[in-house]
Symmetry: C2
Subunit: 194 residues, 2 copies
DNA sequence: AGCAAACAAGACCGATCTGTATCTTTTGAA
DNA sequence: TTCAAAAGATACAGATCGGTCTTGTTTGCT
């Protein structure tokens, strides 16, 4: 009942609380008490709270980007439908119908907001997670024969991030369909090979 | 040297520090020492730190939305150019050439990230600032004869928010031109009256 | 069964937080 | 010029922060 188990418990408890309350607003004691964990257990697995935050971001990157990867990897009638599926995924996320848990905005945006200095390690971890998503979309766009797939991926990602921010601030899932419409218009005129 | 002067000094010092470091990470003592202000001066003008944060957000809403209002109110060859000017403004903001000061992401996004609960007063203040921007764009779009101006305003706003988030996380201004290209594609096929 | 590592629980430390109180100096208007 | 309000400076209180240490119990492996 030890090896990776306690470490995962720490990350799970921290992830839940960070998501719902932010990083600075959540103290170590609360993470531990709500997880039924001891303080020395935390400091056996992580040298500091910042290291725990990095561990949480790393785990979150795998689950979030893994979820989107699964969406992009499904089969669709055409390339347009494949990329638009991202926004259907967003809507299910916003409406708490996704495996990502209750929606309180994007944890990486939260991290870059609470650690705004570009050189900060946590800020950079958030950046890497976002770049990995853009790369995923770029590969899907390239496979579907879209020209300038990286530019398309960046524009789609901007729509995705904007929808996440607006959905969180407003507390509604409506931005998902707004962003989807914009993406559809974008894809309708985007040049393709063949 | 008193009336609204000290209150403005408090807000200015707090705004600078909140922008660069976030809300929870900045203590009252630092706001006061860097502003050359006394503690009782703060609590004479604001009942609490949260009230100061609300004051800062209110002031920021005026300056940011006022700046965008000026951009939208200028004269342009056509409606497309008017709405696209928002993204030229974004680029100057990201590159620290705007009157909004050094760019550390959007303060309202930061606020909604650090106070993620929808019912929170600070969260709601951030929401109002964002809704005011959408309304501004909707009015401009309507005046330019775009059909469904509110939907267009929401899609443009999503592009704007996404560009802000990506620019802050990446530390580059490139998302401004990416979002501008997407907006241009959007406007090119958007139905208009007349 | 036995043993060393991991764990829960909680006392403890110094630093820092928000907010209050005290005292002296400065300000602005009659 | 006088005087009350405002402001600067600083000490202080109580709570909470991240992090260390100790004690006794449980776990997993041989």
């Amino acid at each position: 009942m030890s090896r990776p188990s306690r470490r995962e418990d720490l990350i799970e408890s921290a992830l839940t609380l960070f998501n719902a309350n932010g990083f600075h607003a959540v103290g170590i004691d609360r993470i531990l008490s709500e997880g039924g964990l001891a303080k020395m257990t935390l400091y056996r697995h992580f040298p500091s709270k910042d290291a725990l935050i990095l561990g949480v971001l790393e785990a979150r990157e795998k689950s979030v980007n893994g979820w989107f990867a699964g969406i992009l990897a499904a089969s669709y009638p055409d390339g347009e439908a494949r990329l638009l599926a991202v926004f259907d995924g967003l809507e299910s996320w916003f409406e708490n119908r996704s495996p990502l848990g209750p929606f309180y905005g994007c944890l990486f945006v939260k991290a870059s907001a609470e650690f705004p200095q570009p050189g900060n390690t946590i800020h950079q971890a958030a950046l890497e997670a976002k770049l990995a998503f853009v790369e995923m979309v770029a590969e899907a766009a390239a496979q579907e024969g879209f020209k300038k797939p990286r530019l398309l991926a960046r524009e789609v990602s901007i729509l995705k991030e904007g929808a996440i921010v607006m959905a969180h601030i407003q507390g509604t899932s409506a931005p998902a369909s707004d962003a989807r419409k914009a993406a559809k218009s974008l894809l309708a005129t985007w040049p393709r090979k063949n």
